[in-house]
Symmetry: C2
Subunit: 400 residues, 2 copies
């Protein structure tokens, strides 16, 4: 009698959460220090000190009724202006405060954007590998997910696959770079190629195809490479951003939607974003964390920890004979499962207390995701276990 599809979503947890819960139980059994949990993208590096000082100052010095009161549904005007100014200064993003809508994190930004865009039966293209919740969010909005592979081993957008996935029913493409789960950062040339293709398709079909840029990992890159700003490559862009990873605030749910200033039907789309936020029950983004944003724009958690983790783990795994996607950003390694069966490989890994996530739910087979946003000592202590795992698969150590 209840809604069975919601029951299924709640009852069959995501595979990531399942492994995380297994890990919690296993830690209770054998001690937390003996389990190497690489399952969840929960940042271990604390928020920058500015976050703490800003929160203390706001709570201590702002009258409570003003601090904690409703903001307008789109968010505090002053905060939206600060974000637009920051994006324009940093990326020449051509952002406008009145096209920004503050949200309870990137997940809310995505569900609101999809509800605003999708009409029943519309297709939304996901570039595999992709964050599994994308498919859930597209279906929630009444859409149909269509997958276009970014082929192994590079996992970069492939124009032939993308062209084949786009149809007259395509309403949007979700682009996630730096990518969860692959860690790959898409280059300016790759964005331009996608832009050219989608512009061609728009002209052919006579209607806009929106580019939904999901960017919670924008700042998490480690080799000095730029993360090109999507509004500079494509007009019909909606950016979904979150401060969860850049400021290590995943539990606080603060992010935003930016509708590109040159987006087709942009004013109407922004109104639809406001309508979708209202309809889904988001009233406004958390007020205290809205007001924290201006002081923290451009700041990040200590990314050198993630970089050191990546360098140490990627180097060691490659040396052991494993094969990795180019791990330029986010805080994930995407590693080929020797033997090709990701689920079986993850089960074997569990024997050595290594918790990895098989790639199948990300729309790719034969890989595992390793979330290296852990404390550095976990990396160090896990290496013997990875060595045993490599031995179990008879991998050959690379000569240095």
């Amino acid at each position: 009698m209840i809604n069975r599809s919601m029951f299924s979503l709640g009852n069959r947890r995501s595979v990531i959460r399942d492994i995380f819960e297994y890990g919690a139980a296993r830690k209770a059994q054998i001690g937390a220090q003996n389990v190497f949990d690489f399952s969840l993208g929960n940042p271990s590096v604390p928020a920058p000190e500015t976050v703490k000082q800003t929160l203390l100052q706001l709570v201590d010095q702002t009258p409570a009724a003003e601090l904690h009161g409703y903001t307008t549904a789109a968010g505090d005007r002053h905060v939206r202006e600060a974000i637009a100014d920051y994006l324009n200064r940093t990326y020449q993003a051509d952002a406008q405060a009145d096209r920004i809508y503050l949200t309870c994190g990137a997940a809310a930004a995505l569900t609101i954007t999809l509800s605003a865009l999708v009409c029943p039966g519309d297709e939304v293209v996901l570039l595999a590998p992709y964050f599994p919740e994308y498919a859930v969010f597209v279906r929630q909005a009444g859409g149909v997910p269509v997958v276009a592979a970014c082929p192994a081993p590079a996992f970069v957008p492939d124009m032939a696959h993308l062209a084949a996935a786009v149809s007259p029913r395509t309403k949007a493409v979700i682009v996630n770079s730096p990518n969860n789960p692959s860690g790959v950062v898409f280059t300016a040339e790759q964005l331009q190629a996608m832009s050219d293709l989608l512009q061609h398709k728009q002209a052919e079909y006579g209607h806009p195809i929106y580019w939904i840029a999901d960017e919670p990992y924008r700042e998490l890159v480690y080799d000095g490479e730029p993360v090109p700003y999507p509004t500079r490559y494509y007009d019909n862009t909606v950016v979904c951003y979150s401060f969860s990873k850049s400021l290590s605030l995943p539990g606080e749910r603060i992010g935003y939607i930016l509708v590109g200033s040159r987006a087709a039907e942009g004013a109407d789309l922004y109104a639809a974003v406001c309508g979708a936020g209202r309809s889904l029950g988001f009233v406004c983004a958390p007020a205290l964390f809205q007001k924290m944003v201006p002081a923290c724009l451009g700041q990040t958690t200590d990314l050198s920890v993630y970089k050191a983790n990546r360098d140490r783990l990627a180097g060691a795994l490659t040396h052991m004979g494993f094969t990795l996607a180019q791990p330029g950003g986010a805080f994930y390694l995407f590693m080929q499962a020797p033997g090709g069966n990701a689920a079986a490989f993850c089960e074997t890994a569990k024997q050595f207390e290594l918790l990895l996530v098989p790639s199948d739910d990300f729309g790719v087979s034969g890989y595992v995701r390793i979330a290296y946003c852990v404390a550095p000592d976990v990396i160090e202590r896990s290496l013997p276990a990875f060595r045993q795992l490599a031995d179990a698969y008879r991998l050959h150590e690379k000569r240095g």
Copy 2:
């Protein structure tokens, strides 16, 4: 090409928001002190000092990665246990921590609950007068709102009207007491009558009908009357609660869903709540404000201010010859519009710089809602304007 129903929801703002925006413009024109804005339920009384001290202590003394990290989707276990304990101690609610799901406020609690319950075409009964967003939320979940009048002038549940509104397609009834907009508090006898009727209907149709208790105003009562706890009257109950009004934190979006421990399919329904929260993009309720809750349970903002406002304004308006619903709780007066045309009356009121909300969008004609959660001096200074309004309608002053 975008979703037009979302566009309409965003473009045609709620009538309450429209009047609020008119008020903001008018204040800029003639000075804030000259506009008497009774349009919005935005608390003027600050959060209790415990909120401030708890937030300062949490931010200052909890490691940031722990404080701001993801909680489980249902919310921090310790917080849910504290809430269950409080409800059981205070109301003998038979609440269980593993049937509580923390949400971004009551609006999210309602959209999540409705998505968990409603199958396409299911009907959800609203008791008029009702908060206009209920109809939006029911439609978002794929349901059909069906209205049962609580007839003027008492605005209490009417069993004949409720019986006529319930059908074999009824999935739930939304019950809101203390009521927005009427201020009426439903008595134990009225809850029992509704319970008897719904139990009879459930037996007749052979399936559960859920009682969704929307309770953001639970603590805001002024005459010492109890607000009966719904799980004590009806098994198939889901409580949607928010700390927005009790703690004056409407912008922070913190509340919860409680699935009654004896609810039919209770475990499955709770799983569906988790699935709906996931599907709508709520990840978890804001982590800092989750952790604030245990220290603040049972506390409230200074309700004596609202009581004084109510007594002063209700007394004066009645004396001027206006007719009010029994204003036992929440922070609204529901006043008959002399002449019977609420929109016309509100336009006339604007001539005296009084901003009132016509009742039509609440599912009732001929009344206005007056939100008295304003600073006490606004009440005092508005009285001459109300007097002029009464004179314009040639009302007769009551002899004291």
